[in-house]
């Protein structure tokens, strides 16, 4: 009996030890291979998931599941009264990753912050062009070169960003991936050894996970960073199993080869929800699918024609046919309802084919070009399908629409041309949760030739978005953008179609995952059940 008890006790101890030793691992089936691991030069969501959100931190961070910011590497900050100086106080004792290819000798300091920004705009910085085709597209796209005058080290733990002009979205911009803070010490070491390209291949950051290995186009492995300044995360290992085919990704989740997957097929959502081993989380996406009318070319240069064309479309039916029931919300404003400054007073789009027919007949509109592309986007799963539905609605009011289908990259070139005729389907997913990132980027006069596919230049709207950037009081900013939405509703530069829902299916053993409105996939707050 004694022997039996001893054996049982020994077994229990071994079992406990084995349980304790078992690493907590999360396998994420991602949709594409990362270009590299330098977030300042990346442009794709999958690049950011693999680099900035796992390996790096920023001065400020977006709160989980929100677009509001919270302290990141900076514990606190002050903004000067004139809005031109942002002073950040860095978290003391923040460690960089220690790996088999780099051992830091010091903690994060202001030099790293200065270096992280200067390499993106100072051409004499050795890491400005360390790869053959170095491009800092997001830094430029967010107009940082025109806003940032200099980044100054005040002391080891204080850094100041000086602007040329006030820019209210600046803090939100600093939470974006391009603003990730890298190690200057590591960069210097690579420069000295002549291996600068390793900066993008073997990353070193301060983030919750540290890079272990990347097998090209196959698997990325990370381990939890034990000295993470916010405390070690619950997971021990994080694996990205790169699985580009959506069906294969879904099957891997069903087979238990992955714990969580990105971008499921909308058609699979219902069956995934029925699976007792899975949870399907959803969230209104920070996106908009719309159709830009060229406001400078007849017949859509006439606001009454634009309004009549929109009025002829049965928007709820279109959205349901395109996305499936419950997978998207018909849009009435450019920004989604989850974003601050959303104008709830905007009336629903009127659906009145008879009235539309009268107006269009009176204006002599019988033909129009309707643009579609071959690529599925989260804000529009099929441009071709939506074009066909709109074509039918317009045919019912006596307007013959010719669908012009163009390959995706060429599509955007053609769409941005000022003499492009007709209605052009497009959309957008927000970068930083700031309304400016929708209004100015998509309909500002400065975006004519690039993203302003309506070629719309409205003086009142321009003044409002200019004020929106300069104003620092959030309540006043909200008021400004509410007015901007009124102008858009009145002028109808585009038919606003839908805000799509984003889904994230996962195993029930995944605990604490938060859907992100900016479509980021973050695993620092995730745990797995034993």
């Amino acid at each position: 009996m004694k022997l039996m008890k001893s054996l049982l006790a020994a077994t229990a101890i071994i079992a406990l030890a084995a349980g304790a030793a078992q690493a907590k691992q999360l396998i994420y089936c991602s949709e594409a291979s990362p270009k590299h691991f330098d977030p300042a030069m990346a442009t794709g969501g999958n690049d950011f998931d693999a680099s900035s959100r796992t390996i790096y931190n920023r001065l400020v961070e977006f709160k989980h599941g929100e677009t509001a910011i919270e302290p990141g590497l900076a514990d606190s900050w002050e903004i000067s009264e004139d809005g031109l100086e942002y002073t950040f106080h860095l978290h003391p004792g923040t460690k960089f990753h220690t790996t088999d290819y780099f051992t830091p000798t010091r903690d994060l300091n202001a030099d790293d912050v200065v270096f992280s920004f200067e390499r993106q705009f100072k051409q004499d910085n050795p890491f400005n062009a360390y790869l053959a085709d170095s491009q800092y597209e997001y830094y430029e796209a967010m107009a940082m070169p025109s806003y940032i005058k200099e980044v100054v080290k005040v002391d080891d733990l204080t850094v100041k960003i000086v602007l040329n002009t006030p820019n209210s979205p600046m803090l939100a911009n600093l939470g974006m991936d391009f603003a990730s803070i890298v190690s200057k010490e590591y960069a210097d070491q690579l420069a000295a050894s002549g291996n600068t390209a390793d900066f993008a291949a073997k990353p070193i950051g301060t983030g919750p996970f540290q890079y272990v290995d990347y097998q090209l186009d196959s698997v990325i492995r990370y381990s939890a960073f034990p000295d993470y300044f916010k405390g070690k995360v619950a997971l021990d290992d994080l694996i990205f199993a790169i699985t580009p085919d959506t069906t294969a990704r879904t099957q891997r989740l069903l087979a238990g080869e992955c714990d969580i997957m990105s971008y499921p097929n909308p058609t699979d959502i219902a069956s995934l929800k029925e699976n007792p081993d899975l949870v399907v989380m959803d969230q209104a996406g920070l996106n908009i699918g719309y159709m830009s009318y060229n406001t400078t070319v007849a017949p859509t240069d006439d606001v009454e024609v634009r309004k009549a064309l929109s009025m002829a479309i049965n928007k709820p039916a279109l959205v349901e046919a395109l996305f499936g029931a419950g997978n998207a919300e018909p849009a009435k404003n450019l920004i989604p309802p989850t974003m601050w400054s959303y104008n709830t007073a905007t009336p629903e789009q009127e659906y009145n084919p008879e009235k539309a027919k009268e107006i269009l007949a009176a204006k002599g509109v019988t033909e129009i070009e309707l643009w579609a592309s071959d690529r599925a986007r989260s804000y529009n799963p099929s441009f071709a399908r939506s074009a066909e539905i709109i074509q039918q609605d317009w045919a019912a009011v006596g307007v013959k629409a010719t669908i012009n289908t163009v390959e995706w990259t060429q599509y955007r070139i053609d769409g941005a041309k000022s003499d492009r005729p007709g209605a052009f389907q497009i959309g957008w997913g927000g970068d930083n949760g700031d309304p400016d990132n929708f209004f100015a980027v998509l309909f500002g006069a400065a975006a004519i030739g690039t993203q302003n596919y309506s070629i719309w230049n409205n003086a009142e709207f321009e003044e409002l978005i200019k004020q929106g950037v300069l104003e620092t009081d959030p309540a006043k900013r909200a008021e400004i953008y509410t007015k901007a939405q009124e102008v858009m509703t009145r002028e109808e530069p585009a038919f606003l179609m839908a805000h799509s829902t984003i889904y994230m299916p996962m195993s029930k053993k995944v605990i604490g995952y938060t859907m992100d409105p900016l479509a980021m996939h973050r695993f620092d707050n995730v745990d797995v059940a034993e």
Partner: protein
């Protein structure tokens, strides 16, 4: 023999030139702009776009771009990927072993099943077995790879749970690649269970990639066998009272295999083409998927150089097969020389 080899090698040069023209031209015929494709949703400013066009030389006349490309290739410079900034040749050789591993298994699968199927069909000509085998071969040949792959995944991996869905090895196995061949590397790393896992991951992609070559080999073997079995020497062998097995195995098959060997050589190209789709479906990190991704990204450097390297390899393999063929069959050698 030497003259034959020289003649065959002389053909390589114009073929290579043809391949460079095709690989350079085809990627440019695809609608789309490489700079915009790489700049993501956000697009790129007009100034930046103009600067990049100049930087990559896309503003030069097409013939000038071609000769610049040829000049670089001659110097062994295959350029850097526009998307990842890594050297094309480095990426190619990281991914190539995965494709070779899959292609070898698919070819073995096709040969091991295809030749016996062809023999049985020929021997039982006109029977239900012949009709069944050749009918199946025709279906296999006609089946779209993408559909076939997804069907197998959904049934065997999803429904029955017998095989892994995709990838090369279970994600719990982690070791640094030495040869790039997962089966060999797992053994080098001392992980026999990893070897089993890698083998299980090969099952479905092997079947999918090997289906078309299997059908072709089976049909070729059948027709070659039928031709040979009508020959006088086979009739003589039968008249001498040799057993059916000896007549087929020793006399007929050996001669019938000559055209089959050529067919097998030609399947290398088919396997490379098929690998593009198979690797995409099964998340198999080989050059097929790499090329598809690069086509979507309009990564000219990868597409034109990757295609060139693949074409050269296929050509070399076919050359070796031809030389072996000539070596095995002296009549061909004499005729050709």
């Amino acid at each position: 023999m030497l003259r034959y080899i020289i003649n065959r090698l002389a053909l390589v040069i114009p073929t290579l030139i043809g391949i460079t023209i095709c690989s350079f031209g085809f990627v440019r015929l695809i609608p789309g702009d490489p700079i915009l494709a790489l700049s993501g949703e956000r697009g790129v400013s007009a100034e930046r776009y103009a600067a990049l066009v100049t930087k990559y030389g896309f503003d030069r006349p097409i013939w000038e771009q071609y000769f610049r490309y040829i000049g670089q290739v001659i110097q062994g410079d295959f350029g850097d990927s526009l998307a990842t900034h890594r050297p094309v040749i480095e990426e190619f050789f990281k991914l190539f072993p995965a494709t070779v591993e899959l292609a070898v298994f698919a070819l073995i699968f096709a040969i091991v099943l295809g030749i016996p199927a062809g023999i049985f069909a020929a021997v039982k000509r006109g029977s239900w077995l012949d009709q069944g085998l050749m009918g199946t071969a025709l279906v296999g040949y006609s089946m779209p790879i993408f559909w076939w792959g997804l069907l197998l995944i959904i049934f065997f991996s999803g429904y029955l749970g017998w095989t892994p869905v995709s990838g090369r090895i279970g994600l719990q196995y982690f070791f640094k690649p030495v040869t790039g061949f997962m089966l060999i590397d797992s053994l080098i790393a001392g992980k026999p269970d990893g070897f089993v896992s890698a083998l299980r991951h090969l099952i479905l992609p092997t079947i999918v990639l090997g289906t078309i070559p299997l059908a072709v080999i089976a049909r070729q073997t059948r027709s070659a066998m039928l031709e040979v079995m009508g020959e006088d020497y086979v009739r003589t062998a039968k008249a001498k009272g040799l057993s059916g097995q000896r007549v087929i195995g020793l006399h007929a098959l050996r001669n019938a295999l000559i055209p089959v060997v050529t067919t097998i050589g030609l399947q290398i190209g088919v396997l490379m083409g098929g690998a593009i789709l198979t690797e995409t479906i099964f998340s198999w990190p080989g050059i097929g998927r790499w090329l598809v991704d690069s086509i979507y990204k309009r990564d000219y450097a990868v597409v034109q150089n990757g295609l060139l390297i693949v074409a050269v390899i296929v050509m070399l393999v076919n050359l070796i097969v031809d030389l072996l063929y000539a070596f095995i069959n002296p009549r061909i050698r004499v005729q050709k020389s």
